[in-house]
Symmetry: D2
Subunit: 385 residues, 4 copies
């Protein structure tokens, strides 16, 4: 761009591009290293170019500042990572959808207030996460849209006197648009990042819900889910233990994202417009959060590939009382006012009889009910997401 | 819907609809009151219908639960408020854009690290908020999209045995789609709300930045902005004080949204799938946050309508040193390597001469620079948002 | 004080004191009301005195500012509430200690990673909360110590030119000392309050742990605890449900304290020294948190007074595997290296035999073990706290 | 202890102690390394002992679990660090006190609402931090008291069947007491640590206030403070800039502590009693926070040793209006009711005359006023803290 804009001669421009390509090659071979004297990658690149090209190398810093360089690099990295996360989220969702189909009519008690409430199914439980992740994919798109704007050329936050072409650099770097206002480029630091983390947190909340459910539902007390030994860990003193450490760590990591987001929201509080060194700290929070999300997606995929329902325990957990609401509804639909039907059944709980749970869950047919999970449609939405 | 689905007779259905319309009329006249015995609006409606329609009134609770009723009501309220907030955000953005145009070339020092850095302008400063709010409008759309799904019919979180038509109720209530999975309906409580607050927080962060900037820039030390006395407050013991209390309160309120969001993220932590009474607390956080955002938008609009730059103080603040970078760039473009030009100027700061600030800011013409704020384009984006 | 310092004449001083006593009497009778014109209590008092004493009434505002008045009132209220909370915490701890003694040797499985791990007891489980609350009492003392300093006389944050006697007012108001530096008085707003909330949060974390444990341990899956029907709530559609709503709400409220604390930490971020209107918002967070803590203490007391273990279910939950570690230790103490004993038992889990659980838990006698809970000593610490 | 309790033979005991001493020596020489196979230090120690002592080495794990080992190590490290932090806080406070004495009567405007309010002084401003740190020292003591209890012997959270002597190990490790209840030992993870961070946050809030004040007061607009060039940093494109990066980074780091604390509060939310792998994550948050606090204390000490007031700029900032409240008070003390005096002066602000600022600030003599900062007493409190 500097060449095209006449800020560098054609010769300088070509030499610099060649020098940068050389650095790329060295990086790929792992032969470009960051020494202590070079505070960061940007300085290292300039040093290398100066060493190999002399005066021309020094001209690389023309028309920009450390501020917009660092910010542009972070945006590029975030955008790439978010796209990868979106793909991995889709992969995982397909795996859970497959699980939901496979065990669509495996009966399972549904809980409210941590108490058995109504008949449900493994299909309904697991496809809840499919729909949750479909929403999360939509929020990931929002995050991608927001980071997909180029701050390059905003310099230290007030632009530059040089006639640079910001639209050209945006295009070359693969950004959809230019983030026009240089002050906004700096003011958006912390702000855009905290939104990205809010979006990642949506994914992590879904995963942490899965983690917590599977920890509980695979415990001795529930026994609903069986997880392959390869995913569990032993104890240093209790030989009988099989702990689901990987899900506990995931659950803990979801709080890391939230505390990172908290920090991004707080760090820029009450700073006047423009760059402040405080904002430096945002990089770590963003990179750490992207990594945690990627790892967690892999682990939950492994989980669903190595887990199966214990249908015996599940069926045993559906005791007669769980059908109370269904019985109330039967009376209500025959004309008894709901509140009275409720009272009638409530006073005769011990008379409730056991039912065929599979028949029960298949008999409920409204959209989303256990007999009509609409998995076909979820699958289509997933394909198009 | 209950009538159409054959769950109520045509007669019952008509009577109930009429009863509900009667309640609507009473509400509008302020004559429908919530007594202590009626725990909430849903019970009050059922009581009223039972009193006026007898047995038929009692049938109103058919096919749903308190859980999905409350959630549906909160979704409707949130969606309406978000749409209103979107409109008010657009209104405010137009006002700021007008301000930016009006003072497009009023010079102003640009700050980094709270230190005078480079020449900037009132136009550049204020249009930074225009572009920030344009991004915020986009995130508001994400929030609207997420709440725009009907949980009605998910009942207590596992659907119902009755053949209800959830697509019909979704349509009648103005939702774009059904939130299919009843377990996800409950699991999304706290989760979707926290995303809504993350989006509102984006707006509030922009407003809080405006608030903090104006508090500082209208202080004695800066004197860049003059705010009409009608917006300032006196002190109980210091007769000379004119405090910008309204901006301080706004700044404080932006933390209320963040702490509300924090609570929504935390409250559902490690709850197994399904409804829990813990989630009740989310309503207050959401309603409170929507109200704060609406109030804040009104106040910032008032601010921009009652504020003007003090061009004398602004111009005086652009001392010769602020042009140092421009001088470096001049040398750099003439061929001196950037680092050397930097060194040269740095060693001769006292020799820098004052410049015509308006000429300086107009001379910078790349996209987003003080001479090319691209306000036309921002205006178009705003119209289409 | 103003009289003693010669700032008011003896006559004025007496009249004002009499007027204030009159207000106190009216307040007790509920006859002193806060009208809309009087923005707050301080203005209402001044208005009343001016109405009844004329010119003398107007002199009440001498030597202080709204800033130190409001802060002093909040400190007094906080200190009183904290002392009450301390007493209520002690009361609750005695109730739990009584519960622990009563069921000292009721066996119970101990859990790690949500998996049955080792034999434990109701006594060990409940006295864990006794020791937790003993620590919390200590932190409450730290909070009391910090708020127990008088900011009165710091005026707007820089003191006053009048020769007021701050030590005298501190003494009269029952403060242990003067908060000397007026700037610190203002800078400590938000800061001291956030520490108070950190201390209250310690109490709430203990109570929320109790809440979460009892929700789980009283569920069908565990069945360890039976809670009186008077404390449970029904469902609007499921007649068989008995929900522990009160504990769920408490659990949710613990997050309110944390988000309030978060707000107090954030609101004062990056404000320069001295008062800012932002700090106004701290009052609500503090008062709300004090009230929640007091309510929660009452509710948990009710819980322990209306709960009993289901010893049958508890005993049944201690299956042979839970004694695995004890068997490892037996071998280890006889000379088999720990790791080998662990391996040996681990490979023969199915051969483990059931044991008498009461005998097992009584046989463990080191300090804190199930057979030696040291309740006597906990009781003494409680008495002296 | 294991030897004394008869769990190891005298010979085994002596060999193990000797082996551990050998490890200590290797550690000091930097020759004891942690290989990949040894997951952590505890395993590395056991491996080493087993290699050098054979069967006897394996007996080292007797009577404890990874859970209580890790927790005990973290407690010891935290306690040591807190004590060091306390000392460094005292050192810093002495330095600030010296600064306050040196510039006790250097006049300075006092600000409220970011507006000049009343006359103050460098002495009053800086000794505000002295008193703040005195309070912080008290809260550090609370933190130390809470971590100063030994969880060793609580094993996996339910004690052990072996007759270990927990009081003896507590004493040997330098703990003041035993944390008796093994379940509480585990339940207190996250809880005690979050209190420690709340206490450290108090220190960091004081330091961040100093940082923010000095950033502003050393800016061009204020010019109140001059900071030695050795503490400032240049810009990559603006040769005239001297940025106070170190204070900006400190200010940002104070949010790291808050977000760490947030994480500690959240991570243990809704976990049933007993250990969970989630708690593993707490270590990083604690160690990171301790390090940040130590670094920040060092930096602020450097700041006060390399900073001096610019008395010319300070004096110039005290314009006539700043004396308005003093004039009101003069009238009020002569008998004009306060509200009327206020009105009178307010209407004649332009008639206010300049005063000798030093005389003004010396004339205010109540406790804490600019003429009576009570530095002697603060110094005594500091010595005794």
């Amino acid at each position: 761009m500097l060449g095209k804009a006449g800020l560098l001669s054609s010769k300088e421009s070509k030499e610099l591009v060649k020098g940068l390509q050389e650095i790329e090659r060295l990086l790929e071979k792992g032969e470009f290293s960051l020494s202590r004297e070079n505070e960061d990658m940007h300085t290292a690149i300039e040093s290398y170019l100066t060493q190999s090209l002399g005066e021309t190398g020094k001209r690389i810093h023309l028309g920009r500042s450390r501020n917009d360089q660092v910010l542009t690099a972070l945006r590029l990295f975030t955008k790439d990572s978010l796209k990868q996360i979106k793909n991995e989220t889709k992969d995982l969702t397909f795996v859970i959808l497959y699980f939901a189909k496979k065990y669509e009519f495996a009966p399972m008690p549904g809980y409210t207030h941590t108490q058995r409430a109504m008949p449900s199914s493994i299909g309904q439980w697991s496809s809840a996460f499919v729909e949750s992740l479909l929403d999360d994919l939509m929020t990931l798109d929002s995050a991608i849209r927001l980071v997909d704007q180029s701050p390059l050329g905003s310099a230290a936050g007030y632009g530059t006197g040089l006639p640079i072409d910001r639209e050209m650099t945006a295009k070359l770097l693969g950004f959809s648009k230019v983030q026009v206002n240089p002050i906004y480029c700096q003011n958006s630091r912390g702000k855009i990042e905290s939104f990205v983390l809010a979006c990642l947190s949506q994914v992590m909340e879904t995963l942490a819900k899965i983690a917590n459910d599977t920890i509980w539902f695979s415990s001795k007390e529930f026994g609903f889910l069986e997880i392959d030994d390869s995913l569990t860990t032993g104890s240093s003193i209790m030989p009988q233990k099989k702990n689901l450490d990987i899900m506990e760590v995931l659950r803990a990591n979801s709080t890391t994202l939230q505390s990172n987001q908290f920090q991004l929201q707080t760090v820029s509080k009450n700073l006047i417009s423009g760059y402040h060194k405080d904002l430096k700290i945002t990089k770590q929070a963003v990179i750490n959060s992207l990594e945690i999300t990627q790892d967690s997606l892999q682990i939950v995929k492994l989980l669903f590939e190595n887990m199966k329902p214990n249908e015996e325990r599940l069926t045993a957990a559906l005791d007669p009382e769980i059908y109370a609401t269904d019985e109330v509804n039967k009376l209500a639909v025959q004309g008894t006012p709901f509140r009275e039907a409720y009272k009638q059944i409530g006073e005769n709980l011990s008379k409730l009889e056991n039912q065929d749970p599979v028949e029960n869950i298949k008999s409920k047919t409204h959209l989303g009910a256990t007999g009509n999970l609409d998995l076909k449609n979820l699958q289509n939405r997933l394909k198009n997401s």
